[in-house]
Amino acid sequence: MTTMNKLASVTRREFVAGSAATGGGLALGFHLPGIGAANAQVSAGLAPMAGEMNAWIVIGKDDTVTIRVHRSEMGQGSSTAIPQLVAEELQCDWSKVRMEFASVMRHIRENKVYVSFSTGGSQAIRGSHVYLRKAGATAREMLIRAAALGWGVPPADCRAEKGVVTHVASGRKATYGALADAAAKIAPPADVPFRADAVWNIAGQSPPRFDVPAKVDGSAVFGMDVKVPGMVHASIKQSPVFGGKVQSYDEAKVKSMPGVQAVVKLPGDGAVAVVAERYWQAKTAMDALPIVWDEGENGKVSQAAIIERLKAGLNEPGVKVRHDGDFDGAYAKAAKKVEAEYFAPFLDHACMEPMNCTASVTAGGVEVWVSTQNAEGALAAAAEAAGVPPDKVKVNLMYLGGGFGRRGRQDYVTQAVGIAKQVGKPVKLIWSREEDIQHGFYRPISMGRLQAGLDAQGNLMAYAHKVCGQSIFAYLLPHLVKDGVDASSVDGTHNQAYKMDNCKFDFVMRNSHVPVGFWRSVGSSQNAFITESFIDEVAHAAGKDPVEFRRGLLAHNKSWTNCLNMAAEKGDWGKPLPKGSGRGIAINACFGSITCHVAEVTVDARGRLKVDRVVVVLDSGHAVHPDNIAAQNESGVVYALTAMMHGEITIKDGRVEQSNFDNYPVLMFDQMPKVESYLSLTQGEWWGGVGEPSLAPLMAAVANAIFAATGKRIRSLPLKNQDLKTA
């Protein structure tokens, strides 16, 4: 394995560890990153930066505090929440804090000093809070010790607050800016206690986000907006059929079109690009270029065939995910049985900013400017594509116009570098929206077969859920498929808190040629819909109120019970609604957090659905920026509603049928429900994510509300294919 391959594979693995971990978080207890980094910088032959306390924190003479952020900013807000958490421990003056994105080049140079750049799996806080807090707390102690040393007093007699160290007895004071140089020379203390949530005065607040002002005047620079001297533009066409190859193209037809400089085939023969002075020239010529594709076997695959294979799969035993007690025995004896099958389609991410990357390849190395969820992955991809060692690559991380899991992949980086290498100039590659929707890494298609047995009193005696669907890991990271099980495919089924003594959860893998990937909330995006809709079915079959029924299964778990109860209370559970309206509840845990939704809907006589109100209760354990969490909850609701109402990628002749927002519509302003957001925080040992959990149970809450309003049970998505008319 070459160094580059090794780096690429490590990076991919890290991304997945961050993306698909089902609640584990990072293994703790390894070397503390970033502490003593100034020394590492010296050993790398670089001058240490003045006032650098560690790789995360630089304190200026003017008392400004720069805090580095290792996760990409795609709207999820961690470029503010990460500095908050560091600043909380540092106890600096928040008004003097600036953020900057950490250097992935330094990270490579200094033994992964920033741990991970992967921005997925709702990991930004929950996967880094220990080392971020340690970086802040350690620096605070170093500042205190520097002051104490200068004053000749014991450090324990000094206090750090709002960027000032005070000797309590004498009232002497020194600002962090004045102490920074001396403090940076003090050995970092090994054990520093963290501040408890109860005394937080920076974390737990909702200061204005750092990235917002640049996003109201057009000055925020996304990958799409990069300007590099001498830059030309590229438009790309990839094989419409996944896995197809370019057979031939007629360059002469476009060579003399205005601005056109080159027509290039991409390495691997899966795509052609036209390079022109300006983007519109490149796009116009690209559309005019005749291309003959070798579609291969995949050109015959249809949606119906993919679905038939899934349906057949449900009749196979599959592989064991979790078997407790004796399902078969208990089910045979059940007084009442409930069975159902559910379906969830392929979905595209459809980030607002289509995929793009700017690359420059010179004799000295490679430089890329890119919106990516993993700057380290982008670096590895660029090195591999250019055939240079990683230390010859510079990555400029730009703001992301949405990510949702799509930008964890680096295909656009590989392409841009491949084109730049051939044309010998900096190239900005821009995908059309059509390329973006037709060349995604889709949320897998999936089905579920569920069975529940109730005793005569309506108590749950037996429960089974078999998932049959396409595996992300089998496509991206086959070594993570364990005993035939892709943990991401079954997330949200077997690992929920419900008490189920006799249960079985199984998995049948049915892969297609369609590329799949991590789509916001991953396996729970299908399985929370399926599980929580079915639990609702079972509650009704048991003749019990859906909240009451869940309470009975959750009594042993305080966090889940609190979350459920708060949602029921805030969501006015049990209060009457007009005819045609209904209320539904659903609860799920994924990415370390618990979410419970209560949705209110109205379905009119013609079957038109309006989601009127959604109450979201989240238990993320801790809350660093509550207003941002509310924003993420609103976001999760909209992303889920889009998928539920409209979302469907279908395959015909081996290719995606949808191409743009006219045939892959999304939720619009006038369909937005009123979203109310609440926190039910356990504040214990665990920290949960906030970017994905609020999406997962929403579809079930709405489906259960539709049932309450109409008596119609939704078992297949999207709703545009369902008739909700009651008459």
Partner: protein, 150 residues
């Protein structure tokens, strides 16, 4: 060379007359605040004003602009002080932010014709797509800019 009035300045633009205004703004004039999202007037990320009217720059040919006065997000103010920009910051509207130039331009155009818009007017005017789901905050920010109590 084609004359183009943008943000109060007259430019001479070297582009084919059928080039969409969006790409003239971005590639010829470097005004990258106006975004490409779909190219078919569906998403509104490219919304600019021509003579005060909101238009989708991705389907507006350069030749069709003529003497029209184009205003882009960069032309609203020099210092984020337009009341709609201030409202957007106060309500912390943007998430990823990619669609927000278009959202803001649509909102500014709305408030020019309806200083105290009704919900129905807001819903009719705000047809821009946001994948992050900021719609609720967009509405609050419009209320705030219009001085409407929610």
């Amino acid at each position: 060379m084609i004359d183009l009035k943008v943000n109060g300045k007259l430019h001479q633009v070297d582009a084919a007359p059928d080039t969409p205004l969006l790409w003239v703004l971005r590639d010829n004039l470097g005004l990258t605040g106006t975004k490409y999202g779909c190219g078919i007037a569906q998403c509104g990320a490219c919304t600019v004003h021509i003579n005060g009217q909101p238009v989708r720059a991705c389907v507006t040919k350069l030749a069709a602009v003529g003497n029209g006065a184009v205003v882009t997000i960069e032309g609203l103010s020099n210092d984020k002080s337009h009341k709609v920009q201030e409202a957007w910051i106060a309500e912390q509207v943007p998430q990823c932010g990619y669609c927000q130039s278009g959202q803001i331009m649509a909102a500014v155009a709305l408030l020019q014709t309806a200083p105290k818009p009704t919900d129905a007017q807001i819903e009719a005017a705000m047809t821009n797509i946001c994948r992050c789901g900021t719609y609720q905050r967009v509405r609050k920010a419009i209320y705030r800019a219009a001085g409407i109590k929610a």
